[in-house]
Structures are given as structure tokens and as C-alpha cells.
């Protein structure tokens, strides 16, 4: 056909796009709102990023540096801004770290898109080009990455500390980073290395002490007191532990019942029967040799009564009560035992064994520690300490990020340099690639490349360095082939960032780029906001 040939010549011209006023307004509003969100978290990027204080609706105060947390608490209303919040959440689920980075990249991309739109490029053309650029970017990143072995503990610790360095608790990174690595490695199942469930790592927060006192416990920790209402034990060696899901209290039926008492002697008899009933149960328990009981919380009736506690204490059985049902799985997995739901099923083979169960005073409160568990399952418990609630919460969040980083590395065993090095390298390579592309695509890819420079720029800015000088020097170094040159925030200059041990998992960088692009493309394609029921 002759017609297409003719049109090829003019195709670049016809890719232009004339929006009507309303659509332009909607798009403008969306982009502005989304960028406002991005700007809000921008200053918290990097090791010298600042923290935000958030006062929630309930009057609670949160101090954090974690992008996902900040955005989550912001309570934005504008639909496009909400999408950015979602974006940071999905980065949190995929990679766990880089939640600020992803939003900052999205903001920078939107800024570039606005320029492209105003020069009359059709949004779908921009969107397609962005997609192409992001695919290419992932290729470039993969090419830059350094493979890492799980046995190489040092590298893992390095990347965990990179993640921790940008948090409030950065001064403790030497302590927390190895801890995170050990915790993850202890739950990895060698048979299925790609399945790491972070729910197998339990973080117990306890106020008091400093973050320095944070430790990983080989065993179980309950943030509870041992029930010693009537002089019960607080320490038990060579423990035989049973997890029970029934209650040691007077019987209660599901059907409504009432006991009719007609005379005084009957009352006495009922009291006696109650005692005998409980005693009978405890005898059965004692007969199996069990000496530690973990009792599940019950909403239907009291799990234990004062009376039963008294008898249990007499029988020298240590009791931890009010264990949540959700925790049962974790506990049984750790102790390598089975939950017992009926006194009739109380058998020895269902119990777990540990060297020591003891109540430990920690700061103001007390916790129960179970250590030396025989045949311990693949779980880990981390006891986090902090001098106040704010620090404690932030330590928890930071530790979670560090755990995620390690998990990423277990899933995808590649490391990449940090400190803005990958971004500037991407920017350089994509910029070069844009020059060989034709038409609008090349134009859009170049904008994409420029947008990526926002990361080193912001890093430098947040560190109080001159962003322009730093970024231009960085560009210069990369142009000379030093692909691992990045910003060394501590020294305030450009160095080989791999040598400085600033590394992060490849998955964090790639998913930040792909997710941010996906989100921006979605925002671009919207031309109307319709209010519905």
C-alpha cells in the first residue's frame, strides 16, 4: 500500500496531541498532587536524610525516616496522590526497602512528564517510551550487579548496614546489621531457599535499656509475665512444654446452663466439685511430666482461675497465660510441638523440650525466655530494646527494612552499589541510548534519564553538599568509566562506593524503577476524574 509509506514521513508530526482544557487541568492537578507527596518525603532520603514527626489523629506521635510509614500516615485524599502512597506500599511488599526512593523517582518522572506534555506529546507515547526505558534500565542495572553468595556473610552485613545507615538508628548499624543477617539466615530452609517468610522472625519490642541491648534470642520470647499469682515458679530447667488450647477452669457448656441450688449443703458440694474438677485436670497434666504450660487466650471463658493457678503452682508447673491464637503456629513451629486442644489428648509426644524457661526482668517489665529448645524449628526471635517508645518503634521499622533487604538478597542473589552510583550510571547509559532512538521516543527516554539524576541530587542536597557540583562531578567520573563512583556522604566527596561497602540488593533498585514507572504511566493515562457512588 502506498498510503502508509507516505504517512511514515509525517508520523512524528501527527503524534502531537491537543488536549482540551478540562483534561489538561485534570492531568495537571494529578501530577501536581503526586509531586507534592513526593516532595514531602524527599528530604528523608539517604543517610543524612531528615526524619519526620507525624502526629496521628489519635494524638500519637511517630518519628520516622521510613517512606512507607510517612506516606501511610499522611492520609491523603487526592486520588493521584493516593496512588503514590500505594506505590510506596508495594515497594515495601516487594523489596521492603527503598520506599522513599521509589516515591522520589516517581515524583521526578512526573516532573519531566509535565514538560513533555506541555510540549504537546501524546501521553500514551510518553507512557510507552517510559516503559521501554524502564526495561532498558533494568537491563543496565542487572549488568552492573555483583553476584553474592549466601555464605558470604560480610557482604550481607554490608548491604544491611547500607539500609540501616539512613535510619534514625544508624549509629547502631554495626549491631543491628549482623543481627538481621543471622535472623534471616536462620530461617532460610536450605531445601527451598527462595521461600523466606518474614513471619518466621518475631520481633518483640520491650521498652527500657538502649538499642544497644537489642539481641537475637535462640528460642522464644514472650512479652508476658509468668503467672505467679499464688507463688508460682519463675524458672524451670529441663522444661517439658505443652501448648494447650483448652481452659483449666470450671466447666462451661455452649448451651446456656444454670445450676439450681436448693439448700446450703449443696452449695458446699458445688465448691468441692469445682476444686476436684480442676485438681483432676492438673493431675492428668502432671502425670505426663509436663512442667511448663502455655495457655491460649480464650474469649469464651477464663483460661485459668486463681484456683487453678494455685494448684498449678503446687504441682510445680510454670504457667504462661493469654497466648494469642495467631501466635500458636509460630510457637508450635519453634518448639517443635503440637497444640493440645483437649485434656484427653494430653500426651507426651505432643510436648516440646527446652533447657531453660525463665522469667527475666528487663527494664521495668518482665519477659519470659525459652532457650535451649530441642529440635528447634526454623524461626528466630529478636528482642528489640529502646529508651522510649518512639525509638523502639523506629528501631522495629528499621530492623524490618534490614530484614527485607537480606530477604531480597536471598531471593535474588545480586548486589549493586549504593550512594547514587547506579542511578547516575543509568542516567548516562540511557542518555546515550536516547541519542540513537528516533522520534518522540528518544525525547522521552532522555527525560527519563534526566529524571533519574534526582537521586544523587537529593542525596547530596540532604547531606548539605552542593548538589550541582556533586552531580556534575559524578557525571564526569562515570563518563570516564568509573561505574561504581558514588557519593560518599560521610566524606562529602565522590569515591568508589563499592570500596566504601555501601551496597544494596539489586532487587531494591530494579523494583524501585519498574514500580515507579508503572505508577507514573498510570497517572499519565488518566484524563478525567469521575465522582461515583
Amino acid at each position: 500500500m502506498a498510503a502508509p509509506a507516505v504517512s511514515q514521513l509525517r508520523s512524528s508530526k501527527t503524534e502531537s496531541y491537543v488536549d482540551n482544557k478540562r483534561k489538561e487541568d485534570v492531568r495537571q492537578a494529578n501530577i501536581t498532587a503526586a509531586r507534592a507527596v513526593a516532595d514531602a518525603v524527599r528530604t528523608s532520603l539517604g543517610p543524612k536524610g531528615m526524619d519526620k514527626m507525624i502526629s496521628t489523629a489519635s494524638g500519637e506521635v511517630i518519628i520516622t525516616n521510613d517512606g512507607a510509614t510517612i506516606l501511610n500516615q499522611m492520609g491523603v485524599l487526592q486520588p493521584a496522590a493516593k496512588m503514590l502512597v500505594e506505590l510506596s506500599k508495594s515497594q515495601d511488599t516487594t523489596a521492603g526497602d527503598g520506599t522513599t526512593t521509589v516515591v522520589v523517582i516517581a515524583g521526578a518522572l512526573l516532573k519531566q512528564c509535565l514538560l513533555l506534555l506541555s510540549s504537546g506529546i501524546h501521553p500514551t507515547v510518553i507512557s510507552d517510551s517510559l516503559h521501554k526505558a524502564s526495561v532498558k534500565a533494568v537491563d543496565v542495572l542487572t549488568a552492573m550487579a555483583v553476584p553474592v553468595e549466601l555464605s558470604d556473610r560480610e557482604s550481607l552485613v554490608k548491604s544491611a548496614s547500607t539500609s540501616l545507615n539512613s535510619k534514625v538508628v544508624s549509629q547502631y548499624s554495626t549491631l543491628l546489621a549482623p543481627l538481621a543477617v543471622d535472623a534471616v539466615l536462620s530461617v532460610v530452609d536450605p531445601a527451598k531457599p527462595d521461600l523466606v517468610d518474614l513471619r518466621d522472625i518475631k520481633i518483640v519490642k520491650k521498652l527500657g535499656g538502649t538499642v544497644d541491648d537489642t539481641e537475637m534470642v535462640k528460642g522464644l520470647v514472650f512479652d508476658k509475665k509468668v503467672s505467679h499469682a499464688s507463688g508460682g515458679l519463675t524458672r524451670m530447667e529441663n522444661a517439658k512444654i505443652a501448648v494447650i488450647q483448652f481452659q483449666i477452669s470450671p466447666p462451661k457448656t455452649d448451651i446456656e446452663q444454670s445450676i439450681v441450688v436448693s439448700d446450703y449443703t449443696q452449695m458446699d458440694r458445688i465448691l468441692k466439685e469445682e476444686r476436684n474438677y480442676i485438681l483432676g485436670m492438673i493431675k492428668k497434666i502432671k502425670a505426663t511430666g509436663c512442667n511448663v504450660l502455655l495457655i491460649q487466650k480464650s474469649i469464651l471463658r477464663d483460661a485459668v482461675t486463681d484456683l487453678s493457678l494455685h494448684y498449678l503452682a503446687k504441682a510445680k508447673i510454670l504457667v504462661v497465660k493469654d497466648v494469642e491464637r495467631d501466635d500458636i503456629e509460630f510457637i508450635t513451629k519453634t518448639l517443635n510441638c503440637l497444640p493440645i486442644a483437649n485434656i484427653e489428648h494430653f500426651k507426651e509426644e505432643k510436648m516440646g523440650y527446652a533447657d531453660l524457661v525463665e522469667e527475666v526482668s528487663v527494664g521495668e517489665g518482665k519477659i519470659v525466655k525459652i532457650t535451649g529448645i530441642r529440635d528447634m524449628g526454623r524461626t528466630a526471635t529478636v528482642l528489640v530494646r529502646g529508651s522510649n517508645q518512639l525509638v523502639l518503634d523506629e528501631a522495629d521499622r528499621s530492623l524490618h527494612d534490614a530484614l527485607c533487604v537480606i530477604r531480597c538478597l536471598v531471593n535474588k542473589q545480586f548486589l549493586i552499589a549504593g550512594g547514587g552510583a547506579p542511578e547516575i550510571e543509568l542516567s548516562r547509559q540511557l542518555g546515550a541510548w536516547a541519542k540513537v532512538l528516533h522520534g518522540m521516543e528518544g525525547y522521552c527516554v532522555r527525560s527519563f534519564a534526566e529524571a533519574l539524576e534526582v537521586i544523587p541530587y537529593t542525596l547530596a542536597e540532604n547531606a548539605g553538599l552542593n548538589p550541582i557540583t556533586i552531580v556534575t562531578e559524578l557525571r564526569n567520573r562515570h563518563a570516564q568509566g568509573e561505574i561504581n563512583a558514588g557519593i560518599n556522604v560521610r566524606k562529602g566527596q565522590i569515591t568508589n562506593i563499592l570500596e566504601e561497602n555501601v551496597v544494596q540488593p539489586l532487587l531494591v533498585s530494579t523494583s524501585a524503577i519498574t514500580l515507579a514507572t508503572e505508577c507514573v504511566r498510570m497517572i499519565l493515562k488518566i484524563d478525567d476524574i469521575v465522582t461515583v457512588r
Binding site: 506500599k89 457448656t253 446452663q257 439450681v260 508503572e518 488518566i526 478525567d528 461515583v532 457512588r533
Partner: protein, 607 residues
Amino acid sequence: MNLDLAKPDPLPSYIYVLSDFLRGQQLFSHLFSSRVSALSFRSTPLRFYLFLVKAELIGWQHIDFGFEWRCTSISHFGMAIERILKDDASEEKGERARMASFVGAMAIADLVKTTLGPKGMDKILQSTGRGQTVTVTNDGATILKSLHIDNPAAKVLVELDISKVQDDEVGDGTTSVVVLAGELLREAEKLVASKIHPMTIIAGFRMAAECAREALLKKVVDNKANEEKFKTDLMKIAKTTLSSKILSQDKEHFAKLAVDAVLRLKGSTNLESIQIIKKPGGSLKDSFLDEGFILDKKIGIGQPKRIENANILVANTAMDTDKVKIYGARVRVDSMAKVADIEAAEKQKMREKVDKILAHGINCFVNRQLIYNFPEELFANAGVLAIEHADFDGIERLALVTGGEIASTFDNPESVKLGHCKLIEEIMIGEDKLIKFSGVEMGQACTVVLRGASHHVLDEAERSLHDALCVLSQTVNDSRVLFGGGWPEMVMAKAVDELARTTPGKRSHAIEAFSRALVAIPTTIADNAGLDSAELVARLRAEHNKEDSNAGIDVISGSVGDMSELGISEAFKVKQAVLLSATEAAEMILRVDEIITCAPRRREDRM
């Protein structure tokens, strides 16, 4: 009551006068001071609500008399209304009613118009309800479904027939229907303005639609016989459908996924057995098709995590306690021991129930309701995998795909149909653990796991995939295929044009108009892509004047291209449904000559 306000001439503007008589007078005098002062308003204490006064301002300067006549009629009108309809009820007649319908329907069409075609835009749907949830979509059906609509004609377009039918039966083409119906009405409006009777227009439209359908039928390609070719056809259709959606970038991947899923169905259109699970995280490319069924639940504690050759009992029964359901039932006892006895009896009952269930010879038990700790342990002791709280949808599907039946009593093991599957195991997607049933009895069953950046992306991906699956499953049954990219519309338009030329009488105007409306679809596609639609459509028309042209709009390169080379195909069934339902909807709205709005029901408590 025989009032003929609409008769004189088509008038360009409406003035709503919302008032009682006196305020009306003020407004009149405000608008047309000099004229109105000359009029004598009879001082009858009439109240009249909501007037729709058509006013041709220029006309009035010449015919004062006419205006006076109208005002008199109005007062009569008001009096009559008061007798017939309730206070808040209103009535629109003749020309006005038709106008209102046209305007409403066209507004709806214009709203969804921009989502048409591969370069169509998305809309944000912001809910005003609680939570202010946000949906981002390109799917016409979703947009239309969630709109607040007051205009009755627009409602016709949205609710009664078309887009819902289109979405449920054919799955795709909802936007096209609405756009085509809107264009037909736009054309009809012009014809009515030039004093052609609506019935004549309808007759013409019908002839045209029939002729267009014939034209399409002549051009269809049916590759049913050749399996290889048929599969490529399906791929093409899937890609074409997906290219206008969010999945466009990964359309190869998803088209393959959708085709595989549909081919597993082996001709049935029951999409129930294709389950779609959405898990945030990862990117769209990580989505995959898995044979079998995936249930988003947890396995009970201490139970086997992997079972081969499973016999599955799907049940909906209370596994907490079998309560006596008689209101106020209670037992009276006189000692503690008896309470303990009752408790033991209850336990015993539950144990018996579990024993009965186990007597079915199962090794997997799925319940819709909760399974309490006690029965859970009993199951664990028996080495049976028990899954609690599988939601309604979950167990129904599970029963369907494993070939079992949902049981709620367990007295007769032989009468209960058990489900079977080769393997049950725990898998991990993203951060969550799920249970996978593979090798299920119903071989058609499969699960599509969608991954994506956020819930918005996932929801939209699900909608797009659903559309593609619908179209494909329809195509498997009716394998006639057409080209896409505006090609069918041009073919139809050409045939309809010819018909117009050979048809005598006023109808031919309507037929011609029909053809113009058809061309509006490629025009919209081109407009949405930011192309010069006038130029492109003209070139397309010229191409189609040749015999057997495959020309359509190639949005990617922005020109006219060969649709068979580009591999853009559509299902005949979709096109036919678009054509017929759009025509019918337009016809229905054209026939309207009176709209009666009923008085809203008053709430008693407001008094």
C-alpha cells in the same frame, strides 16, 4: 390540556423558571423587561412548579403576540398539572423530552469516548462513599456501572440494555456500544431537526443495521477447521482486546495466558473455573497461569502440608459447636459435675461429628465456617488437612473444580460426593502462603495469579483480563473473526452508503446518517491517538473503495495500515452485538416523546 408548546420551531435555548407565579413574573420582567410589561398576567393565585420555557429571543422581538399566547398557555398548563400530577412530579413532552433524551445519551457517550482504542485514556473513579476509594480504569462497563445518572435516557444507555448485556454476554465492546449509540442519536437529532419523523428514522436505522450486518457476514473469516490458524486468530483477538487496556505493554504474555486458559475450557463459556487471584508486589510480567486451583487460606496447625492423591470433602458446617437453635433453650442442673458432664457431652458430640467426617475416607477437609481448636486437633491427629474459613466463593469453586459437592450433613458417607485431586501443597506468592490444589478432576480449571505494583493496577488488570477471557470464550464457540482497527466500521459504512443510494424516500437520509455514525468509531480512535482524524478517515474510505481492502487505522505508526499484516482481529460476535444493541438503544430513545418524573417519596420522619 392539549398544549403544543413545542410545535412552532426548534429553539436553541431553554430557560428554567423555578418559581411560583409572582417570582416568575419578576424573572420574566427581568429578562425581557420591555416586552413583559405589556403583558397582562392574570392574577389568579396559581402556583406552578418547574417551567421549561422555550424562548427564542430574537423571534420574540417580532412576534409579541406569540409570546402572549404562550404565557396564557403556560398558566393553563400550570393549572392542569396541579390536577394531574403531584407537587414534585414533572412532565416533559414531545420535542423537549426527545431533546433531553438526546442530550443525556450523548453526554454519556462523550464521557466514555476518550477511553476508546489502544491510545484511549483512563478515568479515575472517585467514590463519594465511605473510604473514598479510588479506581483507575479504562473499562467502559466499569465506568458506566459506577456513574450517578439522573437523566432517564442516559440510564437507558447504561443500565437497561446495552453495556450490561454487552459486558455479561460478550465481555467486550462496552465502550463501542455507547459511543455508537451516542453517534446514532447525534445524527438522529439533526434529522429530527430537519423535520423527519422519528419513525422514519427508526425504519431507516433498522434497514441500515440489517444491511451492515449482512456486509460483515460476507467478510468474516472462519478458521475453526484449522486448529493452528484458529489459535493464532485467538492470539490476535486477545492482543487486540488487551491493547486498549493497562496490560498493553505485556500483551503478548497476557494474550498467551488468556488463550491458554480459555483453551483449557474446551468450548464451555463457564468462566467460573478460571480463577483470578490478585497479589500485590512484583510486576505485571510476573503474573502466571497455573493449572489447578489456589486457595488463599492457611492449613491448620500440626497438619500435613502436602498431600498426594487427596480426597477432599468440601463442607459448610459449624465446626465450633452444634448449638441448639431453639430460642431460650437452657439446661438446669444441680451440681458442678453435671455441668462438666454436659461439657464432655458437647465435646463428645463434636468428636462424633469429626469421626463421621473422617468416615468418608478423606484426607482433606475444607470448611466454610471456622474450625475450632478442638476439632482442628482431632483432624491433625487423624493426619487430615483441614482448612477453615474458606469463603463462600472459595468452597463453591473448589467443589466445582474438584468434582465434589458441598456437604452439610455427614450421616451417609456413600451419598456425599467427594472431590479429588492429585496434589495439595503449600506455595508462596509474594509474602503470602497459599494452598494449591493441582491435578484436579475438572481439567479445565486453572488459576491466573496476577501480580502488580498496586491494588489499582491489579484491579484494572483483572478487569482487562476478564474482558479478554470473555471474548475468547465466545470466539471459541463462534469462531467467526473480523479485522479490527476500524475496518469493520468502514466495511459496514460502505455497504450502508450503497443502500442509501438505492433507497428512495426519506428513509435514505436516515440510512446515510447511520453510515456517518459508523464512521465516527474510527474517527474517535484516531482522535484519541492524537492523529488527524479527518485526514485518516478520508484515506481509509478511499482505501475501502477498492475491492477487498484490509485497511484500518494503525494507531502505532499513525497511518492507514493493513490489518491482516498487523494482526489486529476482533470477534464477529462482539461486533455484531455492538451494532445491534447500539441500534436498538438508539431506537428506544428515539421513540420517547414524554418523560414523566415521579414525585419523590417523602420520608415520614421529616414531618
